[in-house]
Assembly symmetry: C2
Homo-oligomer: 174 residues x 2
DNA sequence: GAAAATGTAAAACGTTCGTTTTATATTGGG
DNA sequence: CCCAATATAAAACGAACGTTTTACATTTTC
């Protein structure tokens, strides 16, 4: 495990658990086990570090969504929250914390959300055997809602979303 | 308009637009048009100010949800995002920004979300003429999802959630 | 019209912020 | 074996953080 990977892993955990702005560079350097000089050589700045974290998280999250049915999509989310916990969407959280005014972060969020939207759309199309943009938008909303509601309703929120999605997909098939 | 109201109004706007942690006390005092001494006499601390903001927002938000049908619930959300914009749920955002480690804030969020859950449950019951906890959970998730998705999908996310809710409620009636 | 309450401006508290610098140690490749 | 390259520790940068204090002005109230 190289230093950059170690840094990004430590940073993701701290940003996720305590927030982006609330996490100081001293905590970052300590958790990553490196000097601030080395940290800045690898990341450039705090905002760029956040962007690196988001990029890595996008890779890891999207890899889990390589499925072909809407039901498998929510099963994947159930796995995700079991492993990663229920602290909401790190992308939208980082956007909110910076007021959308940090270019590197805003850009990483936009890229991820567009890829995510496209993935949901593809999964719906694969499931139905045809495109259905309106239904895909509804499934996306259930997915986001499950992520958000799970913060205070727990993992049950995901299974509730899963069954709602099954009803909507059933309606699309008939 | 008394000073406390003026302070809370200014603080809500700044916290919402730029984030809680990213908003310094100097910006707060300037926007509220008062000295820091007066601000601290009214709010006590920054965390208590955030709790006051959340309490006021709860009052304003819940007042809009005094409806009797699920469709009216989403119509109310459409009005809300038209007036307040699409920056997500300030309650869950404040919780995330503080890592859930600030008691005043965590408590305000818990209280609001429980009241919100109860309201959704009541609206579903009023709409169906009977309790339906599972359906209420699904509607809650659509509501949260619309709020969250609207950040990057715009206000259309709310109407998509609205039509999904209509399908789920139709299913519950038959 | 004195007293109490409530406001102001401004400086200072010690701490932490993100970032850079200086100087030194370790280490892998030609 | 030496030389880049790459790491380290530690101090320092000015600025901003949340908060408190000092000193003074204004308004409200009995």
């Amino acid at each position: 495990m190289n230093l950059t990977t170690k840094l990004i892993t430590a940073a993701e955990k701290l940003f996720d658990r305590h927030g982006y702005m609330a996490t100081g560079m001293d905590r970052l350097t300590e958790a990553a086990g490196m000097s601030s000089r080395t940290l800045y050589k690898h990341a450039g700045s705090k905002a760029q570090l956040m962007a690196l974290v988001l990029s890595e998280r996008d890779r890891r999250f999207m890899a889990r969504l390589e499925v072909e049915s809407v039901d498998a999509l929510f099963a994947a989310l159930e796995d995700w929250v079991r492993v990663e916990g229920t602290r909401g969407c790190l992308f939208l959280r980082s956007l909110a914390e910076t007021g959308g005014e940090t270019p590197e972060i805003a850009q990483a969020v936009t890229a991820h959300k567009e890829a995510f939207r496209q993935r949901v759309s593809d999964v719906v199309a694969s499931d139905l055997g045809r495109e259905d943009p309106a239904r895909a938008e509804q499934i996306l909303i259930l997915f986001e809602g499950a992520t958000q509601a799970a913060i205070y309703r727990g993992a049950d929120a995901v299974s509730a979303a899963r069954s709602a999605a099954a009803i909507l997909m059933g309606r699309a098939r008939s």
